[in-house]
Assembly symmetry: C2
Homo-oligomer: 304 residues x 2
């Protein structure tokens, strides 16, 4: 299986606590790093994670609330001080543009690399980034301000070589890469061994859905159906359902319902309100509906 990991840098909510940092996650897909949200202190959490700066090319911001973006200026500046030259692409709602513009014009006149901001339409489910390894889709969410989650979908890898067939036909090592790419193999006597006989299908593609901040949206389930890992905010317990609704957030029950509706393989909850000294109450609530649930935690690394 190729690398597809999520590193939690922060999973608290707007009011900071001693236990949790504001929202930020790094997705490592085949050694390409994506940053999902960038709350204050992200650069410090990033340094603690031991991940390299240079592999980060794309940042996806869900919405223009401070606990999801106040770490961006420091991250951009520090990467400049570290001598970065590769461009950085930031994706997010239009509401963020004035902030990004001012940060760049006030503090980054001498920046050693280019920062490009891409506006995403938070009302659409659309591909906003694509390369050889992945597609990133927006997921329309419902919060107090325009907000998009992101679905990261890996592209199919190469087929696996069937070692016993390679040995059987005496295929030399130099030919293996070509066969992986789709070539057939022609033997010395002219017999053609088709590619399909020499390989088995690639691993199934995996998908990670990052859904925060949002109320429970039943129709989101169809967009994230069958995802390998669903991160869904669970700011409150169901006892605070009225508050969740008032502030455009979800309860742990909401998150679990969505995971169940979507037949997700696993659920990770986060974006905990500062009112919980212990998130076990949220975990238990979600597990009652969707047993395969885990709690996000700073420093946690999860395989998708």
């Amino acid at each position: 299986m190729q690398l597809f990991d999520v590193h939690i840098l922060g999973c608290g909510s707007a009011l900071p606590t001693a236990r949790h940092k504001p929202s930020a996650q790094v997705v490592n897909l085949r050694e390409k790093l994506l940053l999902l949200d960038c709350g204050e202190g992200t650069q410090e959490q990033w340094r603690r994670s031991g991940l390299g700066w240079q592999k980060l090319g794309h940042v996806f911001i869900t919405h223009a609330h401070g606990d999801h973006v106040f770490g961006l200026p420091g991250l951009i500046s520090t990467m400049g001080l570290m001598g970065r030259t590769a461009g950085l692409h930031i994706y997010g709602p239009a509401e963020l543009k004035p902030y990004i513009d001012v940060v760049l014009s006030c503090f980054c006149q001498l920046l050693s690399y280019e920062v490009t901001f891409h506006v995403v339409d938070t009302r659409k489910h659309a591909v906003v980034f694509e390369d050889r390894s992945m597609r990133v889709w927006t997921l329309p969410l419902q919060h107090r301000t325009p907000c998009a989650g992101y679905l990261i979908e890996e592209k199919p890898g190469l087929p696996h070589i069937r070692r016993e067939m390679i040995d059987h036909y005496g295929v030399p090592t130099w030919a293996i890469n070509r066969i992986k790419q789709g070539d057939d193999w022609q033997m010395d006597d002219g017999t053609v061994v088709p590619h399909s006989q020499l390989t088995s299908p690639p691993d199934p593609v995996r998908r990670y859905a990052y859904c925060t901040d949002t109320m429970y949206i039943p129709q989101l389930a169809s967009l994230v159906e069958g995802v390998d890992l669903l991160y869904h905010e669970a700011t409150y317990s169901s006892e605070d359902a009225v508050r969740a609704s008032k502030y455009g957030h979800s309860t742990a029950t909401d998150a679990a319902r969505l995971a169940k509706d979507a037949a997700a393989k696993r659920l990770m909850i986060g974006h905990y309100s500062a009112r919980y000294d212990d998130e076990t109450v949220l975990l238990n609530e979600a597990k009652a509906i969707f047993p395969n649930t885990i709690l996000a935690k700073e420093g946690l690394q999860v395989h998708v």
Copy 2:
């Protein structure tokens, strides 16, 4: 002596390290808190310090470099979430205004209190804030962008009551506050005991000078002459004097020379470059010129 303390929240420079946070200090003068600079993570450091949020009324920013201001948006937002209603006044160079404006318009539409930004003239030595307890003066500094240090000067306290004279003349307790405020005391037989006989002069006023970021400026000495505590940046050791000059910073030698020129009572150095794993080299360099030098350190509390 009345309370006049400095709390170091951060004393690193632009490139963050695991050892130091970016610039931020809190001055506690008679239970009124001033914040000097506000690098990323200041709100977290503030929480660790145990200081209350409500006593903060005024923030003084030296210049528009990220390591001195990227913590402002989070601090402003969090105080709003905590239900602050008292206005907050921020002082700094004009270059900061677009940033403050965007932060307020993008992220603080529903803020529960008012934030007022006051432009300071970084070329002048002038009083920019004054109340019953203190005056705050700008100190013109020389950096790569307009930059002002700040001089915090307490106002004279009340005179001390001479206990032996109070007893001698039989002055009742109820009269003591009036005498402290300047009243004479009239005895039953009509004799007037002058205020000056009943009191001794108040404590001498103390002054704290906060000078960062800046090159060595000989003429700064006259503005901070005799200060009780001088904080002066010492980003580099004298071995890196060329680099210090190039980036508009000081060496530890520069800081100590200024303290000596100004006949400061004590010197605290900070704003350490990330290149030093141990600031003892900077301390020793400064002490060779100005022995009464200490190193700033996160969590340090210093009496002025």
